[in-house]
């Protein structure tokens, strides 16, 4: 089998921690778009979900920082944040180590990937799961791209990481869902939190929905920091999903600035159907 679903969404901790403070006129349609993601994900009947995230020092530190890592644990604990602060109860989330091992082995043919048999989830994975699999019952394979501790992997390699994951998924019988989560423009956890470059976000997501590889990978880190903040480095996760769906286009269902969430709320999917691939060809 292969990918049965591929999407992207934001993961700001404010989405759960400060949901009550967001303008309902924007928040409610955003959450409705996330619920539509949940519904389509369920309809795709996945056996597992790979979440490509940009973790925030829950597991990896500058003493040994992998550019790319994939989890291979029986289960995962999260959130590492104070549960009362994040408003997500701490729990264990099932993994699938055998499937992880096969995905990692497959991906390694194209990209050098670290693996981890221990992994704690932070808001970057817990917040998306709380919307997508609110019972936390679908086995998760976490994948991380270092977007916090420079030097960072080049965007072109993030696209290749996605292609490698796709090839690995193509080689296993399970039905795999893929979700990329990360910010577009934002200046999180700074005095400027809430600053959002809406125009930049829309341009980036337009490139994403066209799966415009050269457009997606043309940003320099200096430009991203200037125009989209340090949070913008997380576009690597979204670019990886585009790479996994090379030859397919997608749709953005929602994108609006929600300052109290520190980012634009966004949700989108790639059309991973065979018909879409044939059309693109």
């Amino acid at each position: 089998m292969s990918l049965v679903f591929a999407g992207i969404m934001s993961h700001g901790p404010g989405m759960t921690a400060r949901a009550d403070r967001a303008d309902p006129a924007v928040r409610d349609p955003f959450f409705a778009a996330l619920d539509r993601l949940r519904s389509e994900l369920e309809d795709s009947r996945p056996d597992a979900i790979i979440v490509i995230a940009a973790e925030h020092f829950a597991n990896f530190f500058m003493n040994n920082m992998p550019a790319y890592s994939i989890g291979m644990a029986e289960d995962y604990e999260g959130p590492i944040e104070d549960p009362d602060w994040l408003r997500i109860e701490r729990r264990r989330i099932p993994g699938n180590p055998d499937l992880s091992r096969r995905i990692i082995s497959g991906a390694m043919k194209q990209v050098d990937v670290a693996y981890a048999e221990e992994w704690k989830f932070d808001h970057g994975i817990m917040v998306p799961l709380s919307f997508l699999t609110p019972r936390f019952d679908l086995p998760v394979i976490p994948a991380n791209i270092n977007c916090q501790g420079p030097p960072l992997t080049p965007l072109s390699r993030a696209y290749e990481f996605g292609r490698a994951i796709r090839a690995a998924c193509d080689a296993v019988p399970e039905r795999i869902a893929l979700m990329g989560t990360g910010g577009i423009s934002h200046w999180p956890a700074t005095p400027n939190s809430g600053k959002i470059n809406e125009e930049w976000d829309r341009e980036f997501l337009s490139r994403w929905s066209r799966n415009d590889r050269s457009g997606l990978t043309s940003y320099s880190d200096e430009e991203t920091l200037r125009d989209a903040g340090q949070g913008g480095f997380e576009i690597r996760t979204l670019i990886a999903v585009a790479g996994a769906c090379e030859g397919h286009g997608g749709e953005i269902w929602f994108c609006e600035p929600i300052p109290i969430f520190a980012t634009s709320g966004f949700a989108g999917v790639m059309d991973v159907s065979e018909a879409a691939a044939a059309k693109a060809a």
């Binding site: 901790p13 404010g14 921690a17 400060r18 925030h56 020092f57 829950a58 597991n59 530190f61 500058m62 003493n63 590492i80 944040e81 104070d82 602060w85 994040l86 704690k120 932070d122 916090q148 501790g149 420079p150 200046w187 999180p188 956890a189 700074t190 005095p191 400027n192 939190s193 809430g194 600053k195 920091l225 903040g229 340090q230 300052p259 109290i260 520190a262």
Partner: protein
Amino acid sequence: MSLYALQKLLYELNRDPAVQEAFATDRETVLGRYRLTDEEADAMRRDDVGKLYILGVNGQILMHFAAWRGLSWDEYIATMKDALAEHGQVRGGIYAAVDGGAGGAL
């Protein structure tokens, strides 16, 4: 500049309840395990989240720490703004303030 050591301490505090417990009961011993500058150790002694921000601690590490120390979101943002006014721009890392620290949603 031992920003690396300071961030490592915070990283280990954020993810390990055993380190948190040790920090709560005998903070000096925990601080002594890391090669901190006097300024960094002092900020840690005083739970001075604003100063830690100025010293260059990655925002993601600092946000988790601030939550653990009981700062509400608004207090956390306000603390960073106050520190920026008192000490000037962030001295390291990638989380420097822009626009003079203005704006942002509390």
